[in-house]
């Protein structure tokens, strides 16, 4: 079962990488980059909800904060692209550390409410702070040089740069989930008191996972800002956190590729309905209800269990 999972995962991953390399010649690259950023944001949420059992309702705060910091560093201070991204990610991880220290003091649903409240606090701060530009956001962010080597002016260069960093983010999540650390996280998810009684400092593991997830969400936010040359209040709004969760649950919460598939479905839908904001909300709501009521495993989860049952049936037949 596990070997099967791994083999299908690797096959899917190889196919995804190949598709990623040729995609910009077939599909509008800006759309693809938006899709990838949302996929990484959702994957960072999924790392917590799927593998640690912590449902964060506030990942927009990391996504948005990193975006603002990167935008400011690149536009006002004229930093190198890579430095700007690192600054964004570091700030997001720091916000994750501070909020995480407090949020993990409560469990279950309280955790969700606390992360949501923190995100709202960050939203208010972003609204009032002078450097975020308030309602206008930070606009017309220049596309910077990266490490002094190449410029991101060219869309195709930008695309491969973003794709490389997104793949790095996913690789990191994969490594974390399949490491001894990831095993302990899953043990905490399945039975926290037992993990604690085995001598694991549960809160430290949770905090580390939270900070890591915040950093990854930050990476997604920083890249998004470089792609769209805009950092705005939408990025820190609770609706963005909700969207990340929607992507997770549509794709499949306990799977690595779920956020990618979910992102393709949800971002395409939103792009299609871009001019009808109300319909986006309504359809998001309907999708939430349908997925929760009818197929909780999500698309990738359903696919996995379909493969597993087919294999069992074959084993029984032979």
């Amino acid at each position: 079962m596990d070997a099967l999972h791994r083999r299908t995962n690797i096959a899917l991953l190889a196919a995804a990488l190949a598709a990623l390399a040729i995609a910009p010649f077939a599909v509008y690259p800006m759309f693809l980059m938006k899709l990838m950023c949302f996929a990484l944001l959702a994957a960072s949420v999924n790392l917590l909800v799927g593998y640690v059992g912590l449902l964060s309702f506030g990942h927009a705060m990391f996504y948005g904060t990193a975006g603002y910091v990167t935008a400011h560093a690149v536009k006002v201070w004229g930093w190198d692209g890579m430095a700007g991204i690192l600054a964004g990610v570091a700030t997001a991880a720091l916000v994750g550390l501070v909020t995480g220290l407090l949020a993990i003091r409560r469990q279950g649903i309280y955790f969700s409410m606390i992360t949501l409240a923190f995100a709202q606090l960050v939203y208010f701060i972003a609204l009032r702070m002078p450097f975020t530009g308030g309602e206008d956001g930070i606009q017309e962010i220049p596309r910077p040089m990266v490490l002094g080597l190449f410029s991101l002016q060219n869309t195709l260069v930008l695309y491969y740069f973003v794709a490389a960093l997104i793949v790095f983010g996913f690789w990191l999540i994969y490594r974390v989930v399949h490491s001894p650390f990831g095993q302990i996280l899953r043990a905490i998810r399945d039975n926290e008191p037992r993990a604690q009684s085995l001598g694991y400092r549960v809160n430290r593991y949770k905090l580390l996972a939270f900070v890591l997830s915040a950093g990854l969400a930050g990476l997604a936010g920083s890249l998004k800002v470089l792609v769209f040359q805009l950092a705005s209040l939408t990025d820190v709004h609770w609706a963005t956190s909700g969207e990340a969760l929607l992507i997770c649950i549509v794709g499949g919460m306990h799977t690595l590729l779920g956020p990618v598939v979910g992102s393709i479905v949800i971002v395409s839908m939103e792009n299609y309905l871009a001019s009808f904001a109300e319909w986006v909300l309504i359809i998001q709501g309907v999708v939430f209800v349908l997925v929760v009521m009818l197929f909780r495993k999500g698309i990738v989860g359903q696919f996995h269990s379909y493969l597993a049952t087919r294999r069992q049936r074959r084993a029984a037949a032979s």
């Binding site: 909800v49 449902l55 407090l102 949020a103 003091r105 409560r106 279950g108 649903i109 309280y110 969700s112 409410m113 606390i114 949501l116 409240a117 923190f118 709202q120 606090l121 208010f124 701060i125 009032r128 609770w238 909700g242 969760l245 649950i249 904001a277 109300e278 319909w279 986006v280 909300l281 309504i282 359809i283 998001q284 709501g285 309907v286 999708v287 939430f288 209800v289 929760v292 009521m293 909780r296």
Partner: protein, 293 residues
């Protein structure tokens, strides 16, 4: 008398009054959330949307049927509660045996759906609602609008009534018993699933009632629910969902703190509740009135 720190007493009492009005809504909303959470172990994310529904039903009753505020205050909570009962019966009930995450996501989805549908129909600009109680009370230093006094008094009365119902009546005793040990209560022949449904209806009805009372004060707008619910979540985290009296005290208390912040540091008014939440989490992680679980 120069008032406190050079702030004239009229402004002080005025802002305190505004704070207590907000506090009344925090108390009613967090009370409903606590009742639902206490028995169903569900955080009702749709609570804000149901509050908005209550306000829109109030507005619609006047607009289309000519039924005024005093009719609406009876009808609208019942309509919202009926909506809640059907939702519980057809959807929420199926998720009780699963991880709590799913119920949270379901109610979040319903909240999005309702907000989207009302935005589609009515747009984001608010609808005004006439003040049903004109006039005011002259209390010497300042003039208190009658309707605001009514909201505070009515909210306190409803909160106290709910507390009395849950703590002192037989049905309330059943609810508390089912909270402790549902299977045992079922063996006594009490229909626990129906009690859960009615509890959800009661909590949602309180949200609807808040919506009715909010209609003349705030604009009736599709956005009013999601703006309020996040603050109410922070209130719930501060108070803890363990006790009913706790929700009431925390709700009014935080409203007053918010009102006073508006005088002394206007920029901080939007965030003061979140700051209090951070302090409480740091010092008393289970909330002021919460129990460790």
């Amino acid at each position: 008398m120069d008032g406190l720190l050079g702030i004239p007493p009229a402004a002080l009492i005025g802002q305190l009054m505004v704070g207590l009005i907000n506090g009344a809504f925090y108390a009613l909303m967090s009370l409903g959330l606590s009742i639902i959470f206490g028995l169903l172990r569900v955080v009702n994310f749709a609570h804000g949307a149901q509050y908005m529904l209550g306000a829109f039903v109030t507005w619609g009753l006047l607009e289309y049927l000519g039924i005024g505020y005093w009719g609406a205050i009876v009808i609208a909570p019942l309509v919202v509660a009926a909506f809640g009962l059907l939702f519980e019966r057809w959807m929420l009930r199926r998720l009780y045996t699963l991880d709590h995450v799913y119920a949270l996501l379901l109610t979040f989805g319903v909240a999005l759906l309702m907000e989207g549908a009302f935005r589609l129909q009515f747009g984001v600009s608010g609808q005004p609602y006439p003040n049903p109680l004109s006039g005011g009370l002259d209390v010497g230093v300042t003039f208190l609008p009658m309707y605001r006094v009514w909201v505070i008094v009515a909210a306190l009365a409803v909160c106290m009534g709910t507390w009395f119902f849950i703590e002192k009546t037989k049905l309330g005793a059943y609810l508390r018993a089912a909270n402790e040990n549902a299977p045992l209560v079922r063996t006594f022949g009490i229909n626990v699933p129906r009690m859960l449904m009615l509890t959800y209806g009661l909590g949602v009805g309180l949200a609807g009632l808040s919506g009715v009372m909010a209609a003349p004060i705030y604009q009736v707008s599709p956005l009013m629910g999601s703006n309020l619910i996040i603050v109410v979540f922070a209130v719930v985290v501060i108070g803890g969902m363990g006790s009913i009296l706790g929700s009431i005290v925390t709700g009014f208390g935080l409203g007053a703190i918010e009102g006073l912040t508006k005088i002394f540091y206007p920029d901080g008014a939007g965030v003061v509740i979140f700051v209090v939440m951070i302090l409480v989490l740091a010092v008393r992680p289970h909330g002021l009135f919460g129990r460790a679980y």
